[in-house]
Symmetry: C2
Subunit: 357 residues, 2 copies
DNA sequence: GTGAAAGCGCTAACAA
DNA sequence: TTGTTAGCGCTTTCAC
């Protein structure tokens, strides 16, 4: 191995000093610990003179409060949990990023968990979140994990769920209006001349997958296009799943001229499979995804897709949680948010082969 | 909007019960709280009879310990921080996933932060981690953020750094041996007949980017290929960056026949840009990435790339932290780990046009 | 306005 | 082996 460029720094060894605590600060500022506490928390009315002295001491000691002690005594951890389906699908990191940004901006920390739609893993996550005394949990895994969530409900922890309702006091819901985007997609395809439109669905254990499939069906009806049952195939929202789904379509006697996919990752798998077969997208086959992950713009050809704003979703989820968490004792009724979708036309859709020649 | 399939459940309203604590358990099991504590912590020697009673009570109450109280009194939070460069680059979620798995398996929780190579954001993350009393931090952002890290060093928090050394007692290092993979890549290209090999580097503020670029240079020398300075271009490890980098290459009078990219995301950008220009990969141009993210297998054509195991990296990072954190008072010398790379040949490389015709 | 003091839920000495 | 008790660092009454 080569020599490398390392940043080497010689030991700035300092005698290891005990972490300062509220008492250290109080002593240095010559006030009581109560005053320090009040100052830190911006409590009403600490005399200017004192608070200044306190801040000075804090600065000088480079002090910051111990969040465990705070959480213990106040019962407020300022911690939110977020449970996603699969952190490996780019949709979710982008979502987490947005969620974290708002959370941090409001002084909250987040605990992330990837459930992989596995109830056992999920149960474990929930348990760990409970131990850490999260003040709310955003369940963005779109799955059918109600039983596990009961733990949260019993403990009266605020929750926000994507895609399904729970009739509980502290549980809010985010409704995703796929319908608008999916209808636009089908209309777009029909206008291009397609009538053989397949749908590669997500795993049926996910609420989102079911909803998307239903919306595909009603959009087809709305556009007056017949649905061929063998063209609706359950996949699993993964790259490989897209390849497999495409394979099943390949074996059919009559094949569709367009494929709508339940998410972008599936669509990217389809792109790959079509390429392997030698079909050209969009000339021989049109493909549409759903999500509009960052990658969608960079596939070959660029993916036409239905955009679902991660930012809006994250924003809504945080807002729901914050409201529930911060309204002490109020009637705290559950709220409902709506996040919309829209079609983004790029390069993976065109007129069907027969329609052109 | 349509009717949707919602899972609706009628309020299982229970009187909100106070969360059970160690005293509740002790009372129910008719033992002292010390015994409960010992039982929970698997302490040596609690008589079978008692521990059984305790576990029963725990079960019955659905009790679990309050981690804040535990952390407060024991000084151990069982929390590790992990700082990555950019959670939006699929390499990192995959890395986080692996890291979390090992961590959870060992009873640790993780706090994730995405620094986006911004010192201000990083400083904020570090601060928050300090407040939460993390027992160690894995800095996998590959950046030049030493100043910020001083905070951690001063407080004697175990750390593990990717790609650079710090001469401090509790700081371990993970060395990434890009050299092996990069040499193999260059050799592969040369054997195919290429001699005009460009390099789209990462942002120079990242250690990893510098190292990779250096390794490219020495690999070129080792293979006896001349380096054309204008073919080495600093990009930023993003999709768009790859497109931009390609654009710069496009404007040159003599153009390379192969491009080695500092990471996969850049390579995917290049694939896209080449497609837009009408060049065919690999017939007209060969492209190689670095990382081997899940997507690499699904690009068009499948990307030849240099594999860097996220699992190995995560494993090493966790192990380093765990060892440092758990060896109380030991000499605790810093350790060094090595993670290797290897070439994965797929479809984006072939003989150069001139070499074929 | 400010301080003294009582815990939050738990672990770890120390006693018994 | 088991229990009693003193805090961990902080917030929050309640006096002053």
């Amino acid at each position: 191995m080569e020599k490398r460029r390392f940043v080497v720094r010689k030991g700035t060894r300092k005698a290891v000093v005990k972490t300062p605590n509220i008492r250290t600060v109080a002593a240095l500022a010559k006030v009581s610990i109560a005053t320090v506490s009040r100052t830190i928390n911006g409590s009403s009315a600490v005399r200017e003179r004192l608070s200044k002295r306190v801040w000075q001491a804090i600065e000088q000691l480079n002090y910051f409060p111990n969040s465990h002690a705070r959480a213990l005594v106040s019962g407020r951890s300022r911690l939110f949990g977020i449970i996603v389906e699969n952190i490996t699908n780019p949709f979710f990191p982008e979502l987490i990023q947005s969620f974290e940004e708002v959370a941090v901006a409001h002084g909250y920390e987040i605990l992330v968990s990837s459930s992989n739609s596995d109830p056992a893993i999920l149960a474990n996550c929930v348990r760990r979140m409970l131990e850490r005394k999260v003040e709310g949990v955003a369940v963005l895994s779109f799955g059918a994990e109600e039983p596990v969530l009961d733990e949260l409900v019993h403990r009266d922890i605020p929750m926000v769920l994507a895609e399904f309702r729970l009739e509980e006091a502290k549980v809010s819901t985010i409704l995703l209006d796929y319908s608008t985007g999916i209808r636009a997609a089908i209309r777009h395809l029909v206008e291009l001349g397609h009538s053989k439109i397949a749908f590669l669905a997500g795993p049926h254990k996910l609420h989102s997958a079911i909803t998307r499939e239903n919306d595909y069906r009603s959009a087809m009806k709305a556009s007056g296009v017949a649905i061929e049952p063998s063209w609706v195939i359950e996949c699993d929202h993964t790259l490989k799943g897209g390849v497999v789904g495409y394979g099943k379509l390949q074996n059919l006697s009559t094949r569709p001229t367009a494929i709508l996919c339940s998410n972008d990752v599936t669509a990217i798998g389809v792109l790959r499979a079509a390429y392997m077969e030698g079909l050209r997208v969009p000339d021989d086959l049109s493909v549409i995804g759903l999500d509009d992950i960052d990658f969608a713009e960079f596939t070959l050809p660029p993916l036409t897709t239905i955009r679902l704003s991660r930012f809006d979703l994250a924003q809504a989820a945080f807002e729901a949680l914050r409201q529930q968490a911060e309204e002490a004792g109020n009637p705290r009724m559950q709220r409902e948010f709506l996040v919309s979708t829209s079609l983004v036309v790029r390069g993976s859709t065109a007129a069907p082969p027969s329609g052109r020649r």
